[in-house]
Structures are given as structure tokens and as C-alpha cells.
Point group: C2
Chain length 183, copies 2
Amino acid sequence: MSLPHAILTALLEKPSSGLELTRRFDKSIGYFWSATHQQIYRELGRLESGGLIRTLPSEQPARGQRKSYEVLPAGREELARWTAASQDPRPMRDTLLLRMRAAAVVGTEGIEADLRRHLDLHRRQLAEYEEIEKRDFPPGKDSSQDRLRHLVLRAGIDLETFWTRWLTHALEEFPDLPGPGTA
Amino acid sequence: MSLPHAILTALLEKPSSGLELTRRFDKSIGYFWSATHQQIYRELGRLESGGLIRTLPSEQPARGQRKSYEVLPAGREELARWTAASQDPRPMRDTLLLRMRAAAVVGTEGIEADLRRHLDLHRRQLAEYEEIEKRDFPPGKDSSQDRLRHLVLRAGIDLETFWTRWLTHALEEFPDLPGPGTA
DNA sequence: ACATACATGTAAGTTGTTACATGATTGG
DNA sequence: CCAATCATGTAACAACTTACATGTATGT
């Protein structure tokens, strides 16, 4: 149940319409909590009928016309409550590691090309994060808000660094691996 | 659509009943693809009616009695096909990073204690992985199957190392952070 | 008037979660 | 026989995914 809180956070940072939120999820919040536009529209409806957000009073739009939302006090309180509450980490689900484990049983045929592709994807993502860091967090003076957001970006950078290293290492071990095992 | 393949992998490593699978997911495969017993039973039913696995011929049990499965050739082929196929990484969803971003807006009140708790959890997990590495992969001679499984374990170790470092770093920055922001 | 992009939304299906139900086996 | 444990399963719900539907605004 984190999507509503992701949306509340985004709307507090800046009131937006559904499509704007979708775009911001694609290039910022979505880096650690992805969502499609269908999820976002549905959740905006729920949040509005729950009294946590409202459409900007200036606009009373019809279907097909832009509709922007802002967070109400009840929404801010709910977000603060959720942020402070203790939560267990959600169980991990990583397809690539699962496939490696499967490959140990049915053979590595065909997986190497995809490892290279993933390596490329993670390198690009890493470059993008580093670009953002250079642009938004120049060395020296982070405010306390900046410091938290910088910390989150750092997690992204370090995670992508981990994946590029791990994939590089994995590929190095590959040339002399055999086909399907004998198990 | 990875749960069936996680189960096929586990069953190829060793034919098992639903409950045994649940236990193995809790302490091995579930480290990177978690599943509850309800998911597992439902999926075992589907895999059986799909002709990918079957109950061990020696047993024709009734309800409440142990029922073990093994993988059929069609199941092994499906797993090999899936393993070799190209797949995009699934979008990331991390609650803690989302909460940090929310905390930048509504204040850090209460989150510090949970960061400490998470740090502790990740340290324990790391210790557990290192124990497994010491036990199952003593230095020297990995077979090629071992090498793949060792690689997967290494990913787990490096990921937990990342989290413990990141959380430690995050907590270091905390003492002088203020309460709710002015935004 | 048409094509394109913008913007909001519906519907159906799959997957994952939570709570509960039922039968078998074992130890006291 | 009772409680506890092992083992398999059902049901209801919540979340996520994929495909499609509809309306508006703009440029040509």
C-alpha cells in the first residue's frame, strides 16, 4: 500500500494532473516506485473520494480535459503517519538472479546475450543518475531536504554500480561454462 | 510470470511436496523470489494440469496427505526456454527510499528508529549469507553449477553490504536533521 | 477535414496477500 | 481422546498489467 503515499509525496512537491504525475513517475519518483498511468488515475480517484486530495479550485474540467490535484491537510497527515510508521522490507523479487539459478540446472544457453543487454541498461541508468547528481547536487551546500533527496539518489547510484559490477563479473566467468548440466 | 519457473527450478533441484517447497523458498530460492504457501499450492495445481510436472507415481494421496511432485520433460523444456529468453528488468519498488523522499517533505519524525531496525535486519541477512558461503562454497573448487549458484549468493551478499553501508551513512546524517519542513 | 498529440478513463485478466478451513499424524 | 503439529487447500480481496476507449486541442 505505497502507491497512494508515492502520489501524495509527488503532489506535495508540486500539484499536478494525472498525466504530469505519470511523466514525473517515469523520470523521478518511479526510479524507486514505478506506476503506470492507469494505476495513477485510479488512485487519484480514491484519494479524492477519501478526502486526502482535491482538484485545484480554479478548474472544473470535463472528460478529456486536464485536471490538477493538490494535497489536503488530511493527506499530509496521512503521509506523515505512514512515513513514521514501522514497516518491514518487502520480500525481494529479482528475475535475473532466478534465471541464473535456473541456468545452473537447465544450462546457460542464450542467457549471456541478455546479461550483456542488462549490463548496458544498468550502465545507462547509472550515467543518468550521475548526470542528475551533477546537475541537482553540486558539491558543497545541501539543505536538509536536499540532503535526504541526495541520499535517495545515492542509493540509486550505488545500486546501479553494484549491478554493473556484478554483471561484469558474471560475464567474465562465462566463456568456459558448458551447456545444459547433467543433473 | 516467474513463480512457475521458480518452482520448476526448485523441483528440478529436488522433487518435493508443497510444504517442503514452502520451506525451501523461505531459506533459499525465496531470497530472490519469495512466495507464500498459498501461491505455491495454486501454482503446483496449474503446473500439474498443464502437464509440466506430475505427482510422484509412488504416491496417490488424499487431502491432508503429503503429495510430492517431479518435473516432466515438458517442464524442463519450458524452463530452458524461459531462462534463455530476453527479459526486461522489472521496475523497482522500494518502500524505504520512498519513505525517505516523503520524509524530505513531511519531516523525519519517527523514521530514524525504523532505519536502525532495517540496518539490523540487513546485517543479520548479510551474516546469514556469509555463513552459507563459508559452508557451501569453500575457496578453491567450484563446479560450473556451483559457480553459477555462488554468483547468485554473491549478489545477495553484495546487496546486503550495500544496504548496511547506505543505512549507516543515512543514520550518520540524521542527528542534525530538523522536524517537518516548511514546504 | 484530417492526423497527431494530449489527456483521462474502462475493462479484463493475472498475480500476490490475508484469513480461514479441513484432514492426517503424533505424543501425552 | 485431546492438543499440537504437519500438510493441503479455499475464498475473498488488493494490487498490478495489458489492451483498449473516449474526448480535446492543435497544426496543416
